[in-house]
Symmetry: C2
Subunit: 441 residues, 2 copies
């Protein structure tokens, strides 16, 4: 049992804030918000909420954890050169040793580095799109963070040695589902999604297989959609349709998918996304860094589509930081529209909490009794957070920083307390990640 | 004397990095970079540089400190409504009591809050554009931060009760120069600039007075130039010229000025800026938040203009954070050009250090013997800074956060050590700022 006592602010969601109340967590759930009778909370782990804000844990709805290995490597390159000179050679060595030598240590360790960065930033759930997930998921359980394993599937476009034969891919998918989907069953920390990398990297056969499996096991799907103008042209040339319209034409949107980026959607596709229940994952910093463009988030929101927020991988961000991402989310729409009211702090906060939870299909994203206990406690005492207003959501979105996150509860477990990770030995884990990583550099 | 020992990285400027060397500071200057003989440094205050980067202190070349009072108040409003509903009423109360009642406490206290936020973020010099500076400058000396007092001067457009009569303004300017310009004389922490708020808020008489005084006392000048499209139209309508071209036409660019924003410069004005030695102050986050537009920084840089970085006031940012500002500086140009190579980490770092020092006319901005000792020490151990590369400038620009700044030296004085402000009692100062601020809320 965890009792957060007398929190200065409990941000139940972007529009509901309470002041001076307690939050009680029992098992994996939030059980009470209000004045909690201390006798009910006897023996609870007590956290002081004074001078702090309680918020729903942030959801990073699109990332690639392995890219933490590539952080800061040869920045400021065009996408294709960056892939060819930086990413592919490194990833090739990593995948080669994983697929052919069974060496999964580097993936496991750097996945943990990314998971720790996220916990330290108040992220409690993420979607990891990765080709090799078997080795890394156990690390998420060690750290105690909630992860969606969106297995990245390709059978076209990518260099041959970065793909497995389709038959092997299918076997891996089935094994992943069997081993890891909804683990543990009663209170899942791990959920499996299927992740066709993008429409243009998937054969019809692969897409059909994904649909069958998603239907059979009730799996979510994540794919990259219209991240770059190039990809849209490519789709029109080869299929006669823009990417989301193409997916709809083959029936792929009969299950609601999560679509990362959505930068170059057409007006028709924006309506289509809303109609088909597509969750658009907005990755503002990555779209800026790669020069991909500005996603039509205001229009998507107006059309009624779910919007969630993602950092994308560390190679194109380079942080896994929900505060900077919320700021970028609002600021980029404002400047694109040349209108400071285009998208506000509350919208950005909603994308990073409720929107993300919906995209991940988890029962979290607000502070309400009955919801999963994914919660962050934010220290408000820093000079940069000092202010003469009680409006807390704009202050959190525009002023708070990852380092203000003091404690984090995930699935009812206290994972970080007063900036100390309680679940793993952070220092030795980072050192080990460096030692092993340097073997591949 | 201060000795930084065995720094993992000494970032002398954006293009010169040394590893494993010492930095020796004596009086107000950097005196040695390299292996320092410990006998030479006997009695020095020793800082451990292992696992850390030494960087030139960051320069915030355009801000309004008093706006820290307005942080987080009614965000997401259009500029004019925001001015009328939020800023003007509050500022009116503050200025009224300052000008007519001699009450300058709130300005002094919130200026200190902003100064502390900046020191904690690695900023060692700032330009403060403010109408009432008399009361606040002594605070900068208390905190020990280097400040440029750019007295904001208006005699048009602004509501009458927010302006002083021109004769009184002139008297205030002369007194400010006499009291505060280059104080202390031998190693100035305070420099006075003159700050005509914008061309459209200044009469010809005011601009003439400013030019005379700048010439007589060798003062720098800062003004807002072409921040909004509205302001450019206004200038064309009333003067027949765009703002920078207008200033040139009346001879105002005969002394090199610093021009905040420069969002809507014409191609001719970009050439003009370079030719006249105008320093363009780029405020990417503020320009985004207010929906003002995207400054043509790539073109300004190509033309040879000096570019510096500013946060603008906390009301439109809402942080005074050089790391987020460097990231936004690069990312915004990349997405605007749809080209990830448009502006890189080294450019952004240069704007925030050398460019800023040049704009402020101070002998700092690089780590070199003989320069003013304005230096920040950055802790590199956090999970978010963990990486497999030795390229430190991109890592600092894209991954480091304000909270990684561990110690700060300004003018040879250790102002922050291991996250503790040594010069003032931060906690009681913040409490006092809140107490006094609430009287005006």
């Amino acid at each position: 049992m965890i009792l957060i006592q007398a929190a200065s602010y409990v941000v139940r969601d972007a529009d509901r804030v309470e002041r001076g109340v307690d939050v009680l967590i029992e098992g994996d759930r939030i059980v009470q918000v209000g004045r909690v009778d201390v006798r009910r909370a006897a023996g609870a782990n007590v956290l002081d909420g004074r001078g702090r804000a309680v918020v729903p844990g942030f959801v990073n709805a699109h990332t690639h954890l392995y890219q933490s290995m590539l952080k800061g490597r040869r920045d400021d390159l065009p996408l294709v050169e960056w892939c060819e000179e930086v990413t592919f050679p490194f990833v090739r060595r990593v995948l080669d040793r994983a697929w052919h030598g069974g060496e999964t240590e580097i993936g496991r360790l750097w996945s943990a580095v990314a998971a720790i960065e996220m916990v330290r930033s108040g992220i409690t759930t993420f979607v990891d799109m990765d080709m090799d997930l078997e080795g890394v998921i156990s690390t998420w359980l060690d750290v105690g963070i909630r992860g969606v394993a969106a297995m990245e599937l390709v059978d076209r476009w990518v260099p041959d040695d970065l793909m497995l034969p389709l038959e092997r891919t299918k076997e891996d998918v089935l094994r992943l589902i069997e081993t890891w989907h909804r683990v543990p069953k009663e209170s899942p920390l791990v959920t499996v999604f299927l992740g066709p990398s993008a429409p243009f990297t998937s054969s019809d056969e692969l897409l059909r297989f994904i649909q069958e499996q998603a239907g059979a096991h009730d799996l979510g799907i994540q794919t990259h959609v219209s991240e770059t103008a190039w990809e849209v042209e490519q789709s029109v040339r080869t299929t006669g349709r823009t990417p989301l319209a193409f997916l709809d034409s083959i029936g792929f949107l009969s299950r609601p998918i999560t679509a990362a980026h959505c930068v170059h959607l057409t007006e028709e596709e924006i309506e289509l996304a809303a109609r088909r229940g597509v969750a658009a994952i907005y990755n503002p910093k990555s779209n800026m860094k790669l020069g991909s463009g500005i996603a039509p988030i205001v229009a998507l929101q107006r059309a009624g589509a779910t919007v969630a927020l993602g950092t994308d991988g560390a190679a194109s961000n380079d942080l896994l930081d929900p505060f900077e991402e919320m700021r970028a989310a609002a600021l980029l729409q404002k400047v694109a529209a040349q209108d400071p009211t285009a998208l506000g702090a509350r919208d950005a906060f909603r994308f990073a909490t409720e929107g993300g939870a919906r995209a991940c299909r988890i029962d979290a994203g607000t502070i309400d009794p009955g919801r999963l206990a994914d919660v962050a406690l934010i220290q408000l005492g820093g000079a940069h957070l000092f202010r003469l207003t009680d409006e807390i959501v704009p202050s959190l979105v525009y002023c708070a920083r990852a380092d203000d996150v003091e404690s984090v509860v995930i699935n009812g477990r206290l994972v970080m307390k007063e900036r100390e990770i309680l679940t793993v030995d952070e220092r030795s884990l980072l050192a080990e990640a460096k030692r092993v990583g340097e073997r591949y550099a």
